[in-house]
């Protein structure tokens, strides 16, 4: 195989040359939040970091992170405002599609109804149906826009955190049916994604999409709607058991009058219950902001959010594995403490987690079920496959259970094992076939031949991170490919993969063979994990 032309690095690669190897016994799970040492942070650790704090990376990116070491890598990913990023204009999407009828239009409708003017009424109905259709098209456009950003972003952690908050403060287009409101909400999440959780909580009670989704727009004095108050505590901040039914009732009163008009938050003073209330130990004529302050003062809030961040970035918890759960407990507690001490600034918590020895423990690595978005975006970014047709990818993600802007309920996406069943497993595997070859379940992408997957370049690049990829030995190169794609070489499928490569004859690995090898690797169970 020809030399790639890149110069061999002057110093040997850091001492983590060997693969992850066989699993350690469970009782060796680290529970330490102490930072990993630079000499312990090699390619495998860099790969794990970018898998979780992003959507995986190319071999060159792994090399760079490994060379930088843990602190510089984590800071680079976390302080993403310093990395190149594309600004988002307010008018990126049309704010007026679902605007309510104007006063003149309402009057015209009233007149038509009174005069039994069927034709005018039919016209009004058709206009409304057209607007709804256009809005459905716009939310699809928003999905494509976001997926494209995730694929191309120089700030992967920003995208990943925005996705996290979208699942946490879950709001679905299916109910709201107003794409611009969801766009506004999306920007709220993005603005504070690695910022301050308190700001997010203050922001969400004024967010038109959420107000609509949880029926707060009509909540008024004397007839409060409890939905927002309940979910604010149960799902968004405190968790079940850390508030009472009375807190819900009083919280609902505090949120009366919080509504929206013309795509903007509006405080309807006439509808607001300004009377005396007692919420979570606070007393007074509390409004929505006071309610949020009361929530933030409770330690349980920090604990709840720290746990959710842990689950999203580290591991399911509880995991069903006793030793891991025991180790995770002090880690989550430590993260909660950090969140409180930092007054809900998120960066210190994420920094602590991403630098911790626990995070890099083998019990955590390559054990998280990839979300559909992670699976697709990660494959494109790390293997450098063509992105192909975004609509096809979004349809596939939908069939896998994750449709952007359409979380299944206010609880968001459960994640973890719930992504996997006998149906979704085939969709997941077959979408990877699509990315690698352009082949659809029926027929082929018309552009597939113009957009081939370049396995040869990938193999060349692989040498940057895994020197054994440059060896002529079949086993060495297979090991490199496996370590890069699934984190370890000793997978149960290894013998089969080796036999497959051997069956293709001696000599350099050509493009088709590499594509087929990666195709087969994408079909092994381990590829579903990161």
């Amino acid at each position: 195989m020809p030399e790639s032309g890149a110069s061999v690095p002057p110093t040997p690669a850091p001492a983590r040359a060997k693969g992850v190897g066989p699993r350690q016994p469970d009782n060796a799970v680290s529970n330490s939040l102490d930072p990993i040492r630079p000499d312990e942070f090699g390619i495998d650790e860099a790969r794990h970091l970018i898998n979780r704090a992003g959507f995986g990376g190319s071999p060159g990116q792994l090399r760079t992170l490994a060379d930088w070491g843990p602190e510089k890598s984590v800071d680079y990913l976390l302080n993403y405002e310093q990395a190149p990023g594309e600004a988002i204009a307010d008018d990126a999407f049309d704010a007026d599609i679902m605007r309510p009828p104007s006063a003149e239009e309402r009057q015209a409708q009233r007149r038509a109804a009174a005069a039994r003017d069927e034709e005018t009424l039919a016209q009004i109905r058709v206009r409304r149906q057209n607007a709804e259709q256009a809005d459905r098209e716009q939310v699809r456009a928003m999905q494509r826009w976001w997926l494209k950003r995730m694929i191309e972003s120089g700030r992967p952690l920003e995208e990943k955190l925005t996705l996290f908050w979208h699942g946490h403060f879950a709001t679905s287009y299916r109910t709201v049916e107003d794409s611009y409101l969801l766009f506004r909400q999306h920007r709220l999440f993005r603005a504070h994604a690695a910022g301050n959780f308190g700001e997010l909580l203050f922001g969400i009670i004024r967010d038109p999409a959420m107000i609509n989704y949880l029926d707060n727009n009509d909540s008024r004095k004397g007839k409060p709607n409890e939905n927002l108050a309940r979910e604010l505590m149960e799902l968004f901040s405190l968790g079940v058991g850390n508030y009472t039914e009375q807190d819900i009732k009083e919280g609902a009163r505090a949120l009366t009058g919080y509504t929206y008009r013309d795509n903007e938050f509006a405080f309807d003073r006439a509808n607001h219950d300004g009377g005396n209330k007692a919420i979570l130990g606070r007393v007074g004529s509390l409004d929505g902001e006071d309610f949020v302050r009361a929530i933030l003062e409770k330690r349980e809030c920090a604990r709840f959010i720290a746990t959710k961040l842990y689950r999203f970035f580290a591991h399911d918890h509880p995991s069903g594995r006793a030793a891991l759960d025991r180790a995770a407990e002090p880690v989550i507690k430590g993260l909660a403490d950090t969140l409180l001490r930092s007054r809900y600034e998120l960066k210190p918590v994420l920094r602590r987690l991403f630098l911790s020895r626990h995070f890099y423990d083998r019990a955590i690595r390559d054990q998280q079920v990839k979300s559909p978005v992670q699976l697709l975006v990660g494959t494109i970014r790390s293997l450098n496959t063509p992105a192909r047709d975004l609509k096809t990818l979004l349809d596939a993600a939908n069939m896998m259970g994750q449709s952007l802007f359409f979380p299944p309920s206010v609880k968001g996406w459960d994640g973890g094992r719930s992504w996997i069943n006998t149906s979704t497993l085939f969709v997941r595997q077959n979408t990877l076939v699509y990315l690698l070859t352009g082949k659809r379940p029926q027929g082929k992408d018309p552009l597939a031949d113009d957009e081939p997957f370049d396995g040869v370049s990938l193999l060349e690049q692989l040498g940057l991170a895994y020197p054994e990829a440059r060896e002529t030995d079949l086993d060495a190169r297979l090991d490199a490919v496996l370590r890069f794609t699934v984190g370890r070489a000793d997978v149960p499928a290894r013998d089969t993969l080796r036999a497959f490569l051997a069956s293709r004859g001696p000599g350099p690995l050509d493009a088709p063979t590499l594509t087929h090898l990666i195709l087969l690797i994408s079909a092994i169970p381990e590829y579903q994990l990161c």
Partner: protein, 446 residues
């Protein structure tokens, strides 16, 4: 593989394992649970034994007519003059209606000859006036309401909750609590329903138990098999790979189990569906889907719920009356159901299968300005099978006492669900539906 092995699916899977050299280190780890009919993976059930007290023999097939089927032109109230006054252009002529007995005030649309044949054999029950309070005329929302058996349209599917309760004792409201997000130790593919289509309907989605969905059996498999020489064989070896040395509680081991499950399910289903139909089926997508279901039942799959869907019923314009768009759809529906039950009878499985057809709402009484009808409310629901109460089971809703031009419902659909759950599937309807609904009995007394 000899055909008789397909009769005993448990033996088929066991033989497959022995042939491929796998040792059964732990039954709960390696036995594919999807087809064994038990989510708990108890060894006894995999070998063809049954869990005492669970009636595994009975099958429910749900036929969803998507778009809002016009009930008034399906089960025609020809005896009511208001019907013809409201539908001068699209009403079905009285002389063409298929009568359902001398005393009946309603009859079937002439295109439903298939249903009429089954009706004459006592295999059809018709429940009229089915709906729910505060009817919703949005396709999405009303369909969600029917799927979740909840007037807010939220939560898990009613059949998903049935499977959850069978597997794990959950009822509505108990499942999916935020404080118990722990991954289930059982594969998620175990013991659910099969849906024909791109994605499984909400009705089948439970918390613990998930359904399988595929458009055709060809699509329920890896599409990379023909990518190049040796690829298909390598994949087959990978798919059968036992996961040695993994912590059985880990996500990696869970993925291996599910992958094995998926592979065996895929092979079994594709084999089942590849068999030639036992009776001729007419054309059309519903027919194709029911033919697949019949094949899977014939092959002895232990799946208890199948879900098929037929679209096109949103007839806002040019609906037609005796002939036309709607009539064509009804003809396909009737022909497919008739072939399905002929097939099941040939197999000797007809007594085991109850089929229920429904739509998310009916349509308005008066035709609109486009020779069609707009979204309405209550509509008839049909049940099929030798075990159903045959005949027209409830009265037609009044055409005089309307709700702004719409029929008022007389029977809550959840009452039908109650009967299906309790009387047919032997389940705790009250727990699953999280409420007591007056049962609309659709199953014959034993």
């Amino acid at each position: 593989m000899a055909n008789h092995d397909l009769d005993n699916l448990a033996a088929f899977t066991r033989r497959q394992f022995l042939l491929s050299g796998l040792t059964l280190a732990s039954a709960s780890v390696t036995i594919p649970q999807f087809l064994s009919g038990t989510a708990l993976g108890l060894p006894s059930s995999a070998w063809g034994g049954s869990i005492p007290g669970v009636n595994e023999d009975r099958i429910l097939v749900v036929v969803q007519l998507a778009g809002g089927n016009d009930g008034l032109n399906t089960v025609v109230p020809f005896s009511m003059p208001e019907y013809y006054r409201a539908r001068p252009g699209i009403g079905v002529p009285e002389g063409k209606v298929l009568r359902l007995g001398k005393a009946s005030e309603v009859g079937l649309h002439p295109a439903l000859a298939g249903v009429k044949d089954l009706y004459d054999e006592g295999l059809v029950g018709i429940v009229q006036g089915v709906g729910y309070p505060n009817p919703n005329r949005s396709h999405f929302k009303s369909m969600d309401i029917w799927h979740t058996a909840d007037t807010t349209g939220t939560g898990e599917g009613w059949l998903g909750r049935f499977f959850d309760s069978e597997c794990c004792g959950f009822g509505k409201g108990e499942s999916g609590r935020v404080e118990s997000p722990a991954p289930s130790p059982q594969p998620q593919g175990g013991g659910g329903g099969i849906a024909i289509g791109r994605e499984a309907p909400l009705a089948l989605q439970g918390v613990k138990v998930k359904p399988v969905a595929f458009e055709s059996a060809d699509l329920f498999r890896w599409t990379g098999a023909n990518a190049g020489p040796g690829v298909g064989d390598a994949y087959a070896a990978i798919a059968r790979q036992e996961a040695a040395g993994l912590d059985p509680d880990s996500n990696a081991a869970f993925l291996h189990r599910t992958a094995l499950d998926a592979q065996v399910s895929s092979e079994t289903i594709r084999k089942a569906v590849a068999t030639a139909p036992r009776v001729p089926y007419p054309g059309g997508d519903l027919s194709r889907q029911l033919q697949m279901v019949a094949s899977m039942i014939a092959a002895g799959l232990k799946t208890r719920v199948y879900y098929v869907t037929m679209g096109g019923f949103d007839t806002h314009a040019g609906q037609g009356g005796e002939n036309g768009r709607h009539a064509t759809l009804l003809q396909q529906f009737g022909g497919a159901l008739r072939a399905f039950y002929r097939d099941l009878k040939t197999q000797g499985n007809d007594g085991r299968v109850l089929t229920m057809s429904f739509s998310e709402f009916g349509r308005r009484v008066s035709q609109n300005a486009s020779q069609g009808t707009d979204h309405g409310t209550a509509a008839p629901l049909m049940v099929f099978g030798p075990m159903v109460k045959p005949g027209v089971l409830t009265d037609h809703p009044s055409l005089k006492d309307l709700d702004s031009g719409d029929l008022k419902f007389t029977h809550d659909f959840r009452g039908v669900y109650t009967s299906v759950l309790s009387d047919w599937l032997s389940a705790d309807a009250r727990k699953i539906l999280d409420g007591q609904f007056r049962a609309v009995p659709v199953v014959k007394r034993a």
